[in-house]
Symmetry: C2
DNA sequence: AATAGCATTGTTAACGTGTGCATTTCTATG
DNA sequence: CATAGAAATGCACACGTTAACAATGCTATT
């Protein structure tokens, strides 16, 4: 069926070992023999059987890009940027296998035979047992998006807390004191980091807000809409709302306009993430930019380095988040 | 290092073949021996070496989900729905390898040894040589999104043309006669299908529009914004604009509101795709829903069926698109 | 007890490739 | 020409697993 090195060996009148040497640039072969063999392999469209090589070399040439979950709380933009960033680095040298960690009935299919390395795009601690398992198996591992302390891994994390701090400080500088927050999905570390940044900025400026100014969301449009509806019904309404991602901000703005009120004239709204659509909302959204594609690219480069060099070290790299001021916040 | 069936055989006092039989539910083994072996394998955390199995069984347990390109013209929502739909079907029985076809320097790494099957999410004819190559190699193949005639493949296609027809007809029924179109990325088949549906509806109603009512876009927010800006500068302005996807519609709406005009009071806007954000735009977008996740799920099921049963047939399944009426179109 | 048939288990080889060590060939030197 | 050393090539085995066919053991029947 497929061409094997034995087929080539027959035609070239050499052993299969010599064919292997020729195709792998071994120094132990005569250059003329090598070129002859390569020409025959080319004319026969030979492709190595990667299963056979994997078996002998103890390599799979698979990389995992594993998300905590693909079922809920993962926005389309997030997945897109991660896949794109990693693919740009690995090209066609590796197979990129995309999966939700919660899709595994059991982790034991994940081992060094099947994956040369894994990038975990971590959204919550519910993937912690997976990270510990993978580290224990000594699979080359990079964790993006969430800091992990209990395991010796390379970690690339956007600085959500200071992004949220800076955004809340900006709201304060615009004169706002009644600032509410629509939080992200419960249990996600990004939810906590953004809330912490918000609280820290309030504390810094000696501002206290009522408990009713903390409303839970689920990182999606619907929950943003519902949360804003609740805030708009408060007797003492906030003047500004920090939505912990842009999807929820879009839902929140919709809830405002549905009541015949407008953003930012009646209430200011800010988001987090700077998705592609954010600049095109009406009004254009003030938000914080998180470089997910850049983080994914850096993580993939580091992982490839680890795999090829067998060298790893515990490190945490914080990626700078950036305040993006547009039109959705009014100065009062 | 890893546990092999030979290690288990030693402990169980049987041959490695008997271990293989036990773990693969062969009828050729005593049930008691089988349970004893399974218990030992479990306690040793045995995992098969998939490379070895692949080599013997001539299977890779890899499925490709290949997009024409991941570089431009592919929206985040599109990628997300496709990945999610396929993953929901294959679970952890197969590795899902996600890639852009234009990332391949050469296709010859794609063969039956490395992929049990491939789903091509086709956006344009630029992937035609790949589809022909894969079909020629007799790799089980399913093509989604674009009809392919020259190759015997299973095809799952959303009915873009009748969706666009129905939307344009709706605009006509709301009293619009000056209907412009912001087209999609040049060369994409979806671009042509949507334009054809639009033209067919105009023709059916005996409406003709000037050439200036056909403006090119690139399926992204920016090009929608730019195209609408051009339409708004025409001396004889359209009363309604059909944007060939929702991303461009969002950009178009932004261009309208930037001029102090409003949608739908001054000009009506419609989109295509029904992305998650579309219901939350101000105004909520009238659009056409394409069931990408459903198509991806059906394609994956069919491909698995093909792989397991070795049976395939040329077929084209059209998936119904659906007009979704919201608030962005005014009756005049 | 002998025989036949069935169930169970094991031997051997295969899958395609890479590599350690043995063998052969070639070249340079005395 | 003989010898030593280097270069080139090949043999044999390994990797982990599955399966064809052979061998062995058990049971039922005559």
């Amino acid at each position: 069926m497929s061409v094997t090195i034995k087929d080539i060996a027959k035609l070239a009148g050499v052993s299969h070992t010599t064919v292997s040497r020729a195709l792998n640039d071994s120094p132990l072969i005569n250059p003329e023999t090598k070129e002859r063999i390569k020409a025959i392999a080319g004319s026969m469209n030979y492709t190595p059987n990667y299963s056979a090589r994997s078996l002998v070399l103890d390599r799979s040439y698979n990389l995992g890009l594993f998300f905590t979950t693909l079922h809920t709380g993962t926005s389309a933009g997030f997945l897109y940027e991660a896949v794109k960033g990693v693919n740009d680095v690995i090209k066609d040298d590796y197979n990129l296998i995309v999966r939700g960690i919660d899709d595994y009935k059991s982790f034991h299919k994940v081992n060094r035979k099947n994956f040369d390395g894994i990038i975990v795009m971590s959204q919550s601690e519910s993937d912690q047992s997976f990270i510990e398992y993978a580290s224990d198996k000594e699979i080359p591992l990079v964790v993006l998006n969430r800091p992990v302390e209990s395991v010796q891994v390379m970690n690339f994390v956007p600085d959500d807390q200071s992004g949220a701090y800076r955004l809340t400080e900006y709201l304060v500088q615009q004169g706002h004191r009644k600032i509410a927050i629509i939080e992200g999905k419960k249990g996600f570390k990004s939810t906590q980091a953004r809330r912490d940044g918000y609280r820290e900025a309030l504390r810094k400026h000696g501002i206290s807000v009522p408990e009713s100014f903390y409303v839970s969301g689920n990182y999606d449009l619907e929950s943003g809409h519902a949360a804003m509806s609740r805030l708009l019904e408060l007797p003492d309404r906030p003047t500004a709302v920090f939505c912990c991602n842009d999807d929820m901000a879009l839902g929140a703005v919709k809830a405002v306009t549905e009541r015949g009120m407008s953003v930012p004239e009646d209430i200011s709204v800010a988001g987090f993430d700077d998705h592609l659509f954010s600049a095109f909302m009406s009004p254009a959204l003030t938000t914080v930019r998180r470089p997910i594609e850049e983080i994914s690219r850096a993580g993939a480069e580091k992982l490839l380095n680890f795999i090829e060099k067998k060298h790893s070290e515990k490190s945490v790299v914080l990626f700078r988040t950036e305040l993006v001021v547009r039109d959705s916040v009014k100065s009062i």
